[in-house]
Symmetry: C2
Subunit: 434 residues, 2 copies
């Protein structure tokens, strides 16, 4: 056996991901040493409660409640505690004491990324976070390295497994949101408080991370437009299916080439995509990131977006990279925010829309609706009129638009709602993926 240099690895957190990372570090120690060029010695695991139940069996003497002492003297610190504090303080302590950091903490990076990356730059350390954007799917290295010579135009990501599981079952079974959510909670696909997932907060954090990386721009979390999926009911899903679409919660990061120079848009919302789009066949709790680049064309990265052992794979890949860098020497590649493009508000974004209305079934109504759309600079691409269920005097209009400005669209929908001929705005959904 090769006599490798030892690197001291400190682990913060022993939850679903952390306990798997610890187990794999120990099980595959010899193989990891060959890959990394160094023995990765797990010197301790900082937790709040040493006696808590863990997913895997680990020697009790590895555990400590004293994270700060553990970090001192570590070569690599793996932060898997989640949350902002004390994770932020520990990550900064690790960087300043000369360690490289591996983290899966999307909340931390989406809110304090610039502070952390600046601190790493100051001392030539590196922060690895492959597991923070799409779980086990390798997306950080492709964006940062493989596409470094290209220009990313758009990213469309299914980056939240819980919402994809719910929407996929609603689509496949014609079920209602609430029923599927309860089932997803029972099966462990959704938390007892599902807000972070179903309201799009988790996806928004990942969108901020992906957009920062793809566009070399600092993207604060509050610049990400966010809508969840709680408004998607069975009838909306059925109508989407009927029109050849499927509804997915998408994180869209887009480069806009306007008259006044380049800008970007970062947004999370449920959107219609055509059934033959590669993202439409992402089922269950799987994730996928679809990337459109100027030269490379369309790329897609698909896999498990969550799960303890799956995410542990991404974390360990980062640990091996950090170890190789320790052995090879040299300073880290900093996060580049040299482009720092302006981020536009959602009102300045153009997409296609599908508007579903219930209108009075009377002569002249269609002309009124068409007139309001036209006055609002929203151009009709497709139109379907059907009777709305039981009520014979109510018609349902499904209007597909050409590309329109979000601000124009939303003002137009307001005018439709108060026009006197529209009984109800059933839904307004964006169409993505063309």
């Amino acid at each position: 056996m090769t006599d490798y240099r030892r690197l001291r690895v400190a682990l913060l957190g022993a939850g679903a991901v952390g306990s798997q990372v610890a187990a794999l570090l120990r099980q595959h120690a010899d193989e990891l040493a060959d890959r990394a060029g160094a023995r990765l010695e797990l010197v301790g695991i900082a937790v709040r409660d040493i006696d808590a139940t863990r997913d895997v069996d680990l020697p009790r003497e590895l555990f400590t409640t004293d994270a700060e002492s553990l970090i001192l003297g570590a070569d690599i610190v793996i932060e898997l505690m989640g949350g902002i504090e004390p994770a932020r303080a520990y990550v900064l302590q690790a960087i300043n004491s000369g360690a490289d950091v591996v983290t899966a903490n999307k909340a931390l990076l989406a809110t304090h990324g610039p502070e952390i990356f600046d601190a790493a730059d100051q001392v030539g350390a590196e922060v690895y976070y492959e597991a923070a954007a799409a779980g086990a799917i390798p997306i950080i290295r492709p964006l940062r390295d493989s596409l470094a010579g290209d220009r990313v135009q758009r990213i469309m990501g299914i980056v939240n497994g819980t919402t994809n599981y719910i929407l996929d079952r609603m689509d496949a079974e014609g079920a209602e949101f609430g029923d599927v959510l309860v089932d997803a909670q029972r099966l462990g696909y959704a938390e007892s408080d599902p807000t972070a997932d179903v309201e799009g907060y988790d996806a928004a954090q990942k969108a901020a991370i992906l957009a920062s990386l793809a566009f070399h721009t600092t993207v604060p979390l509050d610049a990400v437009h966010r809508e969840g999926i709680t408004g998607i009911d069975k009838s909306t899903m059925d109508a989407a299916r009927h029109a050849g679409y499927v509804i997915k919660l998408l994180a869209v990061c887009e480069r806009l080439d306007g008259g006044s120079g380049e800008s970007i848009s970062v947004r999370v919302y449920p959107a219609l995509i055509e059934r033959d789009h590669p993202l439409a066949s992402v089922h269950g709790a799987n994730n996928a990131v679809f990337v459109q680049a100027e030269a490379a064309g369309n790329l897609m990265f698909y896999g498990a977006g969550a799960g303890g052992v799956q995410t542990a794979s991404a974390v360990l890949g980062d640990v091996v990279s950090a170890a190789r860098r320790h052995i090879a020497g040299g300073v880290g590649v900093g996060e580049s925010t040299l482009a720092n493009l302006p981020i536009v508000a959602i009102g300045r974004v153009t997409t296609r829309y599908q508007i579903t209305l219930e209108v009075d079934d009377q002569p002249g109504v269609l002309a009124t609706v068409a007139g309001i759309l036209s006055d609002g600079r929203v151009s009709i691409a497709t139109l379907e009129q059907t009777v709305a269920g039981e009520e014979a005097n109510i018609a349902r209009l499904v209007i597909g638009t050409h590309k329109a400005l979000e601000q124009d669209l939303s003002e137009t929908v307001s005018r439709l709602a108060t026009s006197g001929v529209v009984e109800r705005v059933v839904s307004v959904l964006r169409v993505e993926g063309e």
Copy 2:
């Protein structure tokens, strides 16, 4: 504008990919400098004929026929000539003169990879080859870095665009191989001599590269079992569709856990995969690499497998990585072949099979066929008997097997062929992807 250090970049070859690389290096010079932390100065392009027509306009003074002088003094050498010699000699010269090398040359790496990687290790240089395995699809970094802490169990790749284009059209249109091939040649999807693609030589080179990387094992090209798609006709394609399969040319790299320790298998052949497998929805000339890893689970990487500008994206990503390494300092990460697992012959591989036979439609024939299969240790999973077209005294048997050893299967098929009751072995196809 930041005052960056200059790095001298030499380009060998100005074909479809090379001319796009040159154009992008010049067009995006400022952006690339920000990303790389260095100005990437294209100092020359070595070609055989300075006056040849190029895909893009480039200054005549960049061209030279003297590759050796160009390489001297270059910091980064991009080899896009293709073929073995003189590409091999130039790459070795570049490494030995202190340059990092970027290459898209799959033939060179599949035949002389160990020599080239050893030479790079000796001097601490690095060889980048993202574009050699699946065109624009980032697969090298994910395998080498992102999955470095995991254990790859199997790779199934659609890594040849020409054959996927042909098979996809045969599937969609019910067309014959020969007709689609002629059309593919007319449209530029196939070469006038299509042998390298349709006989699987190109896919075999890529399989060798992917397997080397995934299993940390030197995989010589002649250890790759290779079959092409010229034997796939309309009736085979129709039968596959009828049975819920699609036929794809797959590069399969598999880790085998046998009684006598681990080994690997690397093979290229047309195989049946179920229509709901993610690889089944890879259409046209697109490529995709499906990876099964112990911890990460199933991953898929999808995109353009060829094309000048698409492949140029992958090359430029490598150039930026090489430049960052020059700036950061430190030695390169060598190619690890520390595992060097034994590579088994095709006969030792187990898969499922689908065997299509034309047999005499007489009492006792099915018992004879079943007996031969059972004697040969091939277990029947599914069986369908139909009349074979016009001839009333001939029946068609489609037999799906459980997993069987290739050697057992091929001996059994030979015995079936000479059993006296089998008129014709119509096809024998492996089933992959379960």
